[in-house]
């Protein structure tokens, strides 16, 4: 199973689409690793610099409808090859969310109010998030400040991240 703890990258906007996560012109690459430098290249977000801001981050916290638009699994792959395995958002586009779990990664939804609170308390500084999958708790820490936030994922999603993804699951079962 992948690691779901680490440093947080805050993307303070709703409706970030998969063209912004990885532009279509890079979909001609035939390896996931090749996508790494182009991650978030076309994001429309004031003051954001992908080369500077993505480094050493392992988790994305963002707003509503993350991953909308194109079905490209290159979006989760671009996230994965940048060592990010968990995205936390108010909501996700269906295909993106499914792609994350199919790849053994997590896309976790939290209520808008909780996301708002996290942005208010943590977005402006270095933040670390620890995931306890068994208890279903995220622990967020920055400069001594500390918050525990409960979350849940479905049994099906849990099965996908613990059994190595949808291909093995489906091939053994159907």
């Amino acid at each position: 199973m992948k690691n779901f703890s680490g440093n947080v990258l805050f993307l303070d906007r709703s409706d970030i689409n998969t063209d912004e996560i990885i532009p279509a012109k890079y979909l001609t690459e035939n390896s996931k690793q090749a996508l790494k430098p182009y991650f978030l290249e076309d994001i429309w977000l004031e003051g954001f610099n992908a080369r500077r801001d993505v480094e050493d981050k392992n988790i994305i916290i963002t707003r509503a409808n993350f991953g909308c638009g194109s079905s490209r699994e290159h979006a989760p792959w671009a996230i994965e090859v940048n060592n990010i395995h968990l995205v936390i958002a108010e909501s996700f586009a269906r295909i993106f969310r499914q792609n994350m779990f199919n790849c053994g990664m997590m896309a976790v939804e939290l209520p808008a109010r909780t996301i708002d609170g996290i942005f208010k308390d943590f977005a402006h500084r270095e933040t670390y998030l620890e995931t306890d999958l068994d208890k279903g708790v995220f622990t967020i820490t920055a400069d001594g400040q500390h918050a525990e936030i409960p979350f849940s994922i479905s049994n099906f999603d849990r099965a996908l991240i613990t059994t190595g993804g949808w291909v093995d699951y489906a091939d053994s079962k159907y």
Partner: protein
């Protein structure tokens, strides 16, 4: 309690219910193109599972960058070509016989009322126009679809949009769907099926219904869906005539997949389009929509006509009707990409292509190309394009470019004017 079309299709295809409301369903068709399929093939080979569940249910096209523009896109085509040959996939459409996936597959009669379809392409929702459940998926879901012929979805919850009219002159299916997206917002239908019903839909051609269902994803919808009716049967008749004694019998059979009067919907929206105006997007989200008359000061560098949304023969005829006998503005580059080889041939036979050429348009081969900034009409930084495609995302048609989504009629008028324009000004 009654059921919706989508629920009836799920019930008829259910294989498993592994958890909660997750249902694994049997697939009637798995569609493939060269952008999202090669990495699925690569993974299957690496896992020692280079198999397909049924070569007759897998349909393959090279469409996104056709002809190949460089070595990398050539390799994607090569991988798909060799894989199709290796697995005896007979329905493989290469350059010269190809077309944009969501235009060519319906044209070949591959989508039937009540069937289930997936593809590694978000606009797969288009095929719901035939009364099918059709959903875009990622490469892993596609891979499992290829291997096992199944896919997992949440049991469908449906938003019904009852569209009443009549549709005014100069207003088209594209304007209707832009108005629906404006109404729902870009995530208003996430995890939902959008069922389009009502007298305006009943009067629409299959092409127009495909335009509607095509953009269900822009409101987050899993699939668009229309009730199969006489129009559906007429469109499919050449492909199904051996299966039924008469059109009436085919219609009755398709009737198994109609929503019941007492079906339960997530929401029912009454949408009156009788005073709808031609619409256009502004900004970078497809729910940012204004009437054309409020955008007439916007100058454009390029007009693009084509794509799985609006590159079918009906669309090209509408454009030709506006363009006939006129020239496009000197400041505009006009690019038209007929969506399939058949559309291209038909447009040639009807004199439509000549009208395009006489007006100053460049007619390209069928391809997805410019719609996603791949080839055949990519924008330079700071350029503006009025486009009949489906996404106005930041950078979509080229880094730093601005895309305004419009109907084919509005695109034609805009090409003549050089500014976003209402087609009613140029008709006749």
């Amino acid at each position: 309690m009654g059921k919706t079309i989508a629920e009836k299709i799920f019930d008829a295809h259910s294989v498993d219910n592994p958890a909660d409301d997750i249902h694994v369903i049997r697939l009637d068709a798995v569609f493939c193109h060269e952008i999202t399929t090669p990495l699925a093939i690569h993974d299957l080979v690496n896992r020692g599972k280079d198999r397909v569940f049924d070569p007759d249910k897998i349909k393959v096209v090279i469409d996104h960058v056709s002809p190949a523009k460089d070595s990398k896109t050539a390799m994607q085509g090569k991988i798909l070509r060799e894989w199709s040959r290796r697995h005896n996939i007979r329905d493989f459409f290469d350059i010269g016989r190809n077309g944009v996936c969501h235009a060519i597959f319906p044209e070949k009669g591959f989508v039937r009322p009540g069937s289930t379809v997936i593809m590694g392409d978000s606009h797969t929702c288009t095929h719901g126009a035939f009364g099918a459940f059709a959903a875009g998926v990622g490469t892993t879901d596609l891979e499992v679809g290829i291997l096992k012929g199944v896919c997992a979805f949440r049991y469908p919850s449906t938003i019904k949009i009852n569209i009443s009219g009549p549709l005014p002159e100069g207003v088209y299916a594209k304007d209707v769907i832009l108005s629906v997206i404006r109404l729902l917002g870009v995530n208003g239908a996430t995890n939902k099926v959008i069922e389009f019903t009502g007298p305006v839909i009943d009067a629409m051609s299959m092409e127009s219904r495909m335009t509607l269902c095509n953009m269900a994803i822009e409101a987050g919808g899993t699939s668009g869906i229309c009730s199969p009716d006489r129009v559906t049967i007429e469109y499919l008749w050449d492909f199904i005539k051996d299966e039924y004694a008469s059109k009436e019998e085919a219609l009755e059979d398709a009737g198994r997949f109609l929503s019941d009067a007492d079906a339960q919907y997530d929401r029912v929206i009454e949408h009156d389009v009788s005073s709808l105006e031609p619409l256009v997007t502004y900004g970078y989200k497809p729910d940012q929509v204004k009437p054309v008359r409020e955008m007439e000061s916007i100058q454009v560098d390029q007009v693009y006509i084509g794509s799985c949304t609006n590159g079918r023969i009906e669309d090209l005829r509408v454009v030709a009707q506006v363009l006939r006998g006129k020239k496009i503005s000197d400041s505009v580059r006009g690019v038209v990409s007929p969506a399939t080889t058949q559309v291209y041939r038909q447009a040639m036979a009807e004199g439509v292509l000549k009208i395009f050429l006489d007006a100053g348009f460049c007619v390209t081969n069928p391809t997805c190309g410019a719609c996603l900034g791949m080839s055949n009409g990519v924008l330079a930084e700071g350029e503006v394009c009025a486009s009949t495609t489906n996404r106005n995302f930041n950078g979509r048609m080229g880094k730093g470019g601005m895309v305004h989504l419009v109907s084919p009629a509005t695109a034609a008028a805009t090409a003549i004017s050089g500014f976003i324009a209402n087609s009613e000004l140029y008709k006749g």
